[in-house]
Amino acid sequence: MTQHSALSTQHFLIETRALVKAYGLLPVLRKLDLGITRGEFVALLGPNGSGKSTLLRLLAGLSKPTAGQITIGGWTLPDEAAAVRAQIGMVSHKVLLYENLSAHENLRFFARLYNLPPAGVDARIAELLEQVGLSRRAADPVRTFSRGMQQRLSIARALLHDPDILLLDEPYTGLDVDASSVLDGLLRDAHAGGRTILMTTHQLDSAAALAGRVVILSRGGIGYDAPTAGLDGARLSAIYTETTSMVSAR
């Protein structure tokens, strides 16, 4: 097991220190220390209930920690949440879109919420819709889209304000093979554009193929943390099983 041990010496874009989150008496994250450098693509794995989504919600400022510290781009959560939120884009297994609005109207609404300059908004929306392959469906209501199309639009929404950080919470949920492959391409492009990506997923093949580093959460802490170099889906699957079963056996 390789531990990411340089937490105190490196300069991280995202950093949690002794992070604790409990729901009532039930602790989900227990003194979690995690650092992610600028430009990294980290896959966050773990069984259901291991705290992956909770960690992402904490990093996005959607939830407040019970104890510990979160710093993103030099800003501290929850005190400087607005500054942090401006540099985060989030994609969830829920699409976070209004199904009665068209693709263009959805993006326009979020552009206003992110205070994008009105002059460039239409061009930015057109560029993103082109990027996610939805230009021809820009005027159609989102309810007429397939799940894969909705997820692509969700990525466009997350990229609208050109964030430094993308948080992806099980973005492959409900996607078929083709849609997953399109999503892979979009995530590669987003990463190639210099973004820092933290993605929770149960798709070990995608995690091994896309991410540069994999972190496995177990019992509210980090059970495994290492680069993905030399790892394929099968090897990662073995590591995942070993890490999570070790925890279950305790």
């Binding site: 607005a82 009665n100 609005l101 919420l113 929404r157």
Partner: protein, 225 residues
Amino acid sequence: MKTPFFKAVLSIVRKDIQIELRSRELVSSMGLFALLSILIFSFALELDRTARQEAISGVLWVTVVFASILGLNRSLAMERDQGNLDAMLLAPIDRVAIFFGKLAGNLVFALVVGLLLLPIMTILYNQNLIRPWLLLVLLLGTFGFATIGTLLAMMTVQTRARESLLPIVMMPVALPVLLAAVRASTNILAQNPIADWIAWPQILVVVDIVYLVACYLLFEYVIEE
């Protein structure tokens, strides 16, 4: 870095109205419910003309309140079900702007239904309800309901029994508004001297301000887990 407060509020109101114009889900269901209610009340009170005259303000407010509850549930469920509330919470806006945006939208829809009711009830109950003071009381009462209702609906929409829970939670809290609105409306329709009932609209204004301040202070806690 933050989006200006009023820009965020206006964006949310505009979005809600745009969705409503597209889907016509809220106003049509609220309007249909309201129409059925006043028709049923009209038939139920048909035999006793005096009782019907005296019950008009009660019928009006019961109908407005329950139609508003219907709209509040749907309006907030739309934000919760697709995770859109999270999407708004992710934006660099004052969180209370979400409350004011949703409040303004809910108020517009409830007022539309309330204003449609007045001419229909004027015909059905054979009494003129289109009076300036009644319009003012309708505005103040609906504002009070929409304010406290938006906050409470934001809470109950996270529960499984949201459809039944909202009226149960809302009625005791909204009782001062209902009481003041019904008393004011009864006096206006009875054409009593203004000095006899002006205290009720004044109470409505005070209660509305108290609700607004309380909701402003509590909203951030309500949307936290």
